[in-house]
């Protein structure tokens, strides 16, 4: 019972998280190209 | 700078802001009519003939029933305009730089500006409350204790709104998008004030007076917290480096 609420709920939660991950990795890759190799690491 | 310096600076800014209001009359001839217009719009939006049943016989118009909330919604919206004005006069022509250069105590600037906003808001609240009673035909059995509760509520609420609003106005000072950003920042912060003031005013108008005082206490606590936060943080907010 009530699966019509459960399924969209899980789709929204994990869909949003997955979308965020993809966008985040895309932004990181784009940004990394603008940072020289020697300045990427946080731990110096 | 000692305590005397702080209060002197606060008084200087307070008088300056009220003097600006006295000659420009922005709050008096723009914000005040806006607040009254908001009340009239509530009448348009909420059918004036709709009634709520109070018992088997008694009933009250919906408008009268929700008056406590409507008063403070109107005050809240007016506060946004008043705050915009308060920081508008500082953002033009480099006066904020001038205040920085003068070496005024930042906490004094905060107190002065917040107090000026508070006085203006108290005026708006008085008119809005009176207007709501007239327009929405609120039938209240008046007693001194109810009046005292209502006045205290308005005082505590406007102090809280002015303190928090001044803090957030300074957070957005110098930004081109200040006018749209301040409402976004301030409205969620003031949500508890609306809630508390609505409850307290409801107790003052229709309920048991004793139920209202705890809410007034909460409003006073809110105001106190924000006055404190403002005093502590204004220095680093004004310092742009």
């Amino acid at each position: 019972m009530h699966w019509e609420f459960v399924i969209p709920g899980y789709l929204i939660v994990f869909g949003s998280l997955a979308t965020y991950v993809v966008l985040l990795l895309g932004r990181i890759r784009a940004m990394a190209q603008r940072v020289p190799e020697n300045k990427r690491s946080f731990l110096e | 700078m000692g305590r005397a310096g702080l209060l002197a600076d606060a008084a200087l800014i307070f008088k300056k802001d009220l003097r600006i209001e006295r000659s420009s009359k922005v709050v008096t001839v723009q914000v005040l009519p806006f607040a009254v217009m908001t009340l009239i719009l509530f009448g348009f939006g909420i059918s004036p003939d709709a009634r709520v049943l109070l018992g088997s016989e008694e009933s009250r118009t919906v408008l009268a029933q929700v008056t406590p909330g409507l008063i403070f919604i109107a005050v809240l919206f007016s506060a946004l305009l008043a705050l915009g004005r308060s920081f508008g006069v500082e953002s033009s022509d480099g006066t904020l730089d001038g205040l920085r250069l003068a070496g005024l105590d930042p906490a004094g600037i905060f107190l002065g500006k917040a107090a000026a906003v508070m006085v203006q808001l108290a005026m708006v609240s008085a008119v809005v409350t009176g207007g709501a009673f007239l327009l929405f035909s609120v039938d209240v059995g008046w007693s001194p204790s109810r009046a005292v509760l209502l006045v205290t509520t308005v005082g505590a609420a406007t102090t809280g709104i002015a303190a928090a609003g001044t803090l957030y106005g300074a957070l957005a000072a110098g930004l081109r998008v200040r006018d749209t950003l301040v409402p976004l920042l301030v409205i969620p912060v003031l949500a508890p004030v609306l809630l508390g003031a609505g409850q307290a005013a409801d107790a003052a108008l229709f309920g048991a007076v004793a139920d209202g005082w705890p809410w007034v206490g909460a409003l006073a606590l809110f105001a106190l917290v924000y006055v404190g936060v403002g005093i502590l943080s204004f220095e680093s907010l004004l310092e742009d480096a």
Binding site: - | L12, S23, T95, A102, G103, L104, E239
Partner: protein, 221 residues
């Protein structure tokens, strides 16, 4: 005060305005009683240099000291502000207040003497009818006179003037030139950004060229 008595001592000063290095290495030394002109094209960094000296802009790199206050520290920047008089492009006046109200407010804010405020108003010809006119109703020149009066009333030790002649008529210019000379004579120092040529050269002790955010030291005026 530094040991050599310099009022302003900047070395390779870098200052950012919204992330942009408006000052990209300014070296400048000003002695007491000097009246120094700042020249340079628009956007050269003159205004930022003045604001840096006033303690309004943070020193990002290099070193800087004004009236003995270290511009690299927040405390130093705050301390220096009270002893300098900055007149920028913006006049720091409240449009809705009258000339007299503005001058009285700013004198009060600076803890200046009331008599000095009155004298400054007299001196700049603002005591008559103009005193009760809201600043919004003033002409550009009158507005500038009011702003100058605010600075004069404070008796700053370092005057930082950003194109102060803009909008002034010839009597106003003469008055301003005399004010700068008087200030220097009484022991203050004046740093003035200006595009003017001619008469002002008699006032200036020397001239400094600003370009590309850098200061070219001391070219004889």
């Amino acid at each position: 005060m530094t040991s050599d008595g310099a009022v302003v001592q900047l070395t390779d000063a870098v200052a950012l305005v919204g992330g942009f290095p408006a000052l990209a290495g300014a070296t400048l030394t000003l002695q007491s009683r000097e009246v120094v002109g700042l020249r340079g094209p628009n956007g050269a960094g003159k205004s930022t240099l003045l604001r840096l000296c006033a303690g309004l802009v943070a020193l990002r790199r290099g070193s800087g000291e004004v009236l003995g206050c270290d511009l690299a520290t927040r405390g130093g920047r705050r301390a220096v502000r009270r002893s300098v008089g900055l007149l920028g492009h913006e006049t720091s006046l409240y449009d809705d207040l009258t000339v007299a109200e503005n001058i009285r407010f700013w004198s009060g804010a600076h803890r200046a003497d009331d008599d000095d405020a009155g004298a400054a108003m007299d001196h700049l010809g603002l005591s008559g009818r103009l005193a009760d006119v809201p600043v919004a109703g003033l002409s550009a020149g009158q507005r500038r006179r009011t702003a100058i009066a605010v600075v004069v009333a404070r008796r700053p030790r370092l005057w930082l003037l950003d194109e102060p002649h803009a909008g002034l008529d010839s009597s106003g210019r003469d008055l301003l030139d005399r004010l700068m000379l008087d200030a220097a004579a009484s022991g203050a120092t004046v740093l003035v950004a200006t595009h003017d040529r001619g008469r002002i050269d008699d006032v200036l002790t020397r001239c400094v060229e600003v370009e590309g955010g850098m200061v070219r030291e001391s070219v004889d005026g």
